[in-house]
C-alpha cells in the first residue's frame, strides 16, 4: 500500500472514530452525531491523503509528525472556532487536541509504514 492510500484509509478511520468519541466527551451532541461523524471522517480523509503525499516526498519522522499535526490542526480549526448551533457551546480544545493527535498518528504511520515512491527513469 502506498503512503497516500495508507494516509487516506487511516485518516478516514481515525476521523470517524474521532467523531464517534464526541459522544463520550460531549454526550449532549448526540442528535447531531451523524453529521459530526461525516464531517470528521471527511476531515480525516483530506488530512490523511495530504499527510500521505507529504510522507511520499519527505522521508523524515520528526518533520512528518510535525506536519501531520499542523495539517490536522489547520483542518480542525474552522470547525473548532464555530459554536455548536444547537447547544450554543464552543468545543475548541475538545476538537483541536484530539484532531491534532489524529494528525500525529497519521504522520507517524505514513512515515514508518507504506510503500515509498519509486523513482522513474
Amino acid at each position: 500500500m502506498n503512503k497516500p492510500v495508507l494516509g487516506l484509509l487511516l485518516g478516514g478511520a481515525l476521523g470517524a472514530l474521532d467523531g464517534l468519541t464526541a459522544l463520550i466527551s460531549a454526550p449532549e451532541v448526540k442528535p447531531e452525531i451523524m453529521s459530526i461523524v461525516i464531517g470528521s471522517t471527511a476531515k480525516g480523509l483530506v488530512a490523511g491523503v495530504l499527510i500521505g503525499f507529504v510522507a511520499r516526498k519527505l522521508n523524515n519522522l520528526a518533520a512528518g509528525i510535525v506536519l501531520g499535526i499542523v495539517i490536522a490542526a489547520l483542518l480542525a480549526l474552522p470547525i473548532a472556532l464555530h459554536a455548536d448551533p444547537v447547544t450554543g457551546k464552543a468545543y475548541f480544545w475538545e476538537i483541536m487536541i484530539p484532531g491534532s493527535i489524529v494528525g500525529l498518528i497519521v504522520g507517524y504511520a505514513t512515515q514508518k509504514f507504506g510503500r515509498p515512491a519509486v523513482a522513474r527513469p
Partner: protein
C-alpha cells in the same frame, strides 16, 4: 651476541615464509591459518595489487594434501557468490608446494565482530552466512567446518565464508547419478546447477571413521565419522552452533528471546531429520525473528505473542492510547 626479540621474530617469520623469488606473487606476512594451509598477504607483480595466497603448510605438504588444496581452489572458483572469496589463480611454488591466489579480504572474524555489535547486526551477519551456505548447497557443496573463526565481516559490511578446505561435493557422486539427491542439496537434474564432478580429485574423507571438523561446531554424524550421512543438514548444525556462540556471549544466556533460542535448538538437534531441512529454511526463520514475526521453530504462547505484537507496534499503540487518554481527560474535566 643476542638479537632483540622483534628482530628474532622477524627472522623467524622470514624463514617460515615460503620462497617466492622469481614468482609472480611475492609473499609477505601470514594473515590466517587453516587446517591445511597458511594464508599470506602477497603482492601480485603482474597486476600491481595485493592478494591473499594460501600455501600448503610445510608439515602437511604431501601429495594428498596438495590434491586437497587444489580441490578447495576448484570448488571456490566454481562458487561465484558475494559471500565467497573469489579465486584468481592456482599454481605450485618453487619448493613444490601448491598454492592458490584469492582476493585479499580485510575485516574482523565473526566472534570479534559479535563482541562489539548489537544483536540485530550479528543476526543479520548470521543470516548472510545462511544464504551463502544455502547457495553452496544449491551447487551440491557442503562446507563441513562452519564456525565463527571461518566467517569474516569486512569493513564495508561484506560477510564472507572462509576455509572450504574440507568442503565436500555431495550432489555429484554415485548416489546423485542414480537420482538420489540428499536433503537440502541440489540433484544433478535440478535447476540448482550443481558442480560437475571434480575428475580425479578424491573427497577429503572417503574412508568411514575419518573425522574432520571442529569439536563444538560439527554435527554428531560428522563427529562419528559417517560421511555417507553428510548433507545440507550437517551444515545447518554448524550454523546453529555459530548462532548460539555469537548470541550467548561469555556463557551468559540471560535475556535471549525464546524464539531465537528455539532456532538454534532446532538447528542443533542430534537427529538430522529434526533440524531445518536446509540453510535457506533456517535463514527464513532468522528473518522472521528479525521482523518480529512468529518463527517456525517455536510455538508461541498467547501472552508472548501479545508482547511481541506490542513491541513491534509499540509507538503506534502508545499514540492511540494517548488519543484515548485525552478523550477520557476531557470527559473527566467535563464531569467536574
Amino acid at each position: 651476541m643476542t638479537l632483540p626479540e622483534h628482530a628474532l621474530a622477524h627472522l623467524q617469520q622470514v624463514l617460515r615464509t615460503p620462497e617466492s623469488a622469481g614468482e609472480r606473487y611475492t609473499l609477505h606476512e601470514p594473515v590466517g591459518q587453516g587446517g591445511m594451509g597458511t594464508v599470506y598477504r602477497a603482492s601480485d607483480r603482474a597486476l600491481g595489487r595485493d592478494v591473499a595466497v594460501k600455501v600448503l603448510r610445510g608439515d602437511v605438504a604431501d601429495a594428498e594434501a596438495a590434491v586437497r588444496l587444489e580441490r578447495e581452489a576448484r570448488i571456490l572458483a566454481r562458487l561465484e557468490h558475494p559471500g565467497i572469496v573469489p579465486v584468481h589463480d592456482v599454481g605450485t611454488l618453487g619448493d613444490g608446494r601448491v598454492f592458490y591466489v584469492m582476493k585479499l579480504v580485510r575485516g574482523r572474524r565473526l566472534q570479534e565482530f559479535a563482541g562489539a555489535a548489537p544483536r540485530s547486526d550479528v543476526l543479520r551477519v548470521v543470516l548472510r552466512v545462511c544464504e551463502t551456505v544455502g547457495f553452496a548447497h544449491a551447487h551440491g557443496v557442503v562446507h563441513r567446518d562452519l564456525k565463527p573463526s571461518n566467517i569474516m565481516v569486512g569493513a564495508f559490511g561484506e560477510v564472507l565464508v572462509l576455509d572450504w578446505g574440507i568442503a565436500r561435493v555431495v550432489g555429484t557422486g554415485r548416489a546423485a547419478a542414480r537420482g538420489e539427491a540428499r536433503p537440502g542439496l541440489a540433484a544433478p537434474a535440478s535447476s540448482g546447477d550443481p558442480l560437475p564432478a571434480l575428475h580425479g580429485v578424491p573427497e577429503p574423507d572417503t574412508a568411514p571413521g575419518t573425522v574432520l571438523g571442529t569439536p563444538g561446531f560439527m554435527a554428531p554424524e560428522q563427529a562419528r565419522g559417517e560421511p555417507a550421512l553428510v548433507d545440507a543438514r550437517t551444515d545447518v548444525y554448524g550454523l546453529g552452533a555459530i548462532l548460539r556462540a555469537v548470541v550467548v556471549r561469555e556463557g551468559d544466556g540471560r535475556g535471549v528471546p525464546r524464539p531465537l533460542e528455539a532456532i538454534w535448538t532446532r538447528a542443533l538437534s542430534p537427529d538430522p531429520a529434526a533440524r531445518y531441512p536446509s540453510a535457506a529454511d533456517m535463514a527464513a526463520d532468522i528473518t522472521r525473528f528479525l521482523d518480529a514475526q512468529p518463527v517456525a521453530a517455536y510455538r508461541e504462547p498467547l501472552t508472548e505473542r501479545a508482547g511481541r505484537v506490542f513491541r513491534k507496534y509499540q509507538t503506534a499503540i502508545l499514540l492511540v492510547l494517548t488519543y484515548l487518554a485525552v478523550r477520557l481527560l476531557f470527559l473527566v474535566m467535563r464531569g467536574y
